[in-house]
Symmetry: C2
Subunit: 197 residues, 2 copies
DNA sequence: GTATTTATTTAGCGATCACTATATAAATAC
DNA sequence: GTATTTATATAGTGATCGCTAAATAAATAC
């Protein structure tokens, strides 16, 4: 064991709790006091382990992004653009309606609307949201080369379209719309996937 | 003039200011002090004119819903389901990227993610968001009767799909995506509108 | 054993939260 | 004029915000 008094609590477990609270209430919607209580520790222990509220949020977000990122990493391996899109949308529905987590999506809802004090965090999240569309645009460009996507399609716009649907699915789930209905939405979106020449 | 000292400020003008602040920062993201300062009045005047923060928010929301509601009222008059959908999506893009207002959509972003203290407001907004899909579902059912929409389509699901796109467009605009890109998203969504028999 | 290091606890910092008590100012009613 | 009514301005309520100083507890190093 390392020098000094050992930590009483499991840091990853505590971080998981913080992640879920930020996921549900957003960065500004949960206080340090509430976080510490839910994590089963007192406030100074929270600060000594995680620095401050912003760093705790970012650490929780890193944990979240392992979940959220897998949707894209797995889906982009699909053989055709159509299968990629369907896999992403289906994965998003499963994520945003999974009863083991809060409804919605942390990267979309965690700091979308904030007070002036937290615009810094909002901008960080805005930037994070730009990565998946970039990945998708690259994948769709490849699909055009491989012939399973019409060359008339702009890969960037198609990626933005999928991201728009994903964002909408997160909002709908947060509003209380269930998995069944959202899967029907995905079915409609995929009906006559119109981009194969 | 009525009895008593007359109000120094224009109530509708002050409400317009409050609406924009709530629109940009959400219910919990702006304080009474900030609101009063921006409205050019002091705090007790705000309370005597509007009651409390929740009532002020709801009054601001009523003002907003005149803007947001017109999109649907106007669009539902279009002749075919396809034109209705296009008009709604185009109207949403214009609303959420209008430089005269904050980015995004107040009914979607105003209280989507809140602390436990404001779950009451969140639920009220969740309910408000259910009205447009109901209108759309009725209109799409009518379109099926009139023959410009396939009878295989579930009007409710199609309405939920359009609402999902609308929500996504609001999130994208709030994230900094511009009008041009969002109009391309709408174009993709409308490409080969797949629901005419 | 003592010294050092780190985590915990209690208690409290100044700032801001939504909201209001009190006094004063400005209008009408008579 | 006086009485009444309503809006204003000043100041301040208790509660909570993010965060921390100080003391104590529990481990290792030697």
């Amino acid at each position: 064991m390392t020098k000094g008094r050992p930590r009483k609590f499991d840091k990853e477990e505590a971080l998981e709790t913080a992640m879920k609270l930020f996921w549900q209430h957003g960065y500004e919607g949960v206080s340090i006091a509430k976080l510490a209580e839910a994590m089963g520790i007192n406030v100074p222990s929270l600060y000594s382990a995680f620095g401050n509220k912003e760093k705790l949020f970012m650490a929780a977000f890193d944990k979240y992004s392992l979940l959220g990122g897998h949707i894209y990493i797995d889906s982009l391996k699909q053989k055709t653009a159509r299968e990629v899109a369907y896999s992403i949308l289906k994965g998003e529905v499963e994520l945003v309606t999974n009863p083991e987590h809060p409804d919605g999506c942390m990267v979309i809802l965690g700091a979308l609307v904030t007070s002036s004090d937290s615009e810094h965090i909002k901008k960080r999240m805005d930037e994070m949201r730009q990565t998946p569309p970039k990945w998708m645009a690259e994948r769709f460009a490849q699909a055009i080369k491989e012939g399973d996507l019409s060359p008339e399609v702009d890969p960037k716009s198609l990626a933005c379209y999928i991201m728009t649907l994903n964002s909408g699915l997160a909002v709908q789930a947060k509003s209380g719309v269930g998995k069944k209905e959202l899967m029907k939405v995905v079915d409609i979106a995929m009906k006559n996937w119109p981009f194969v020449d």
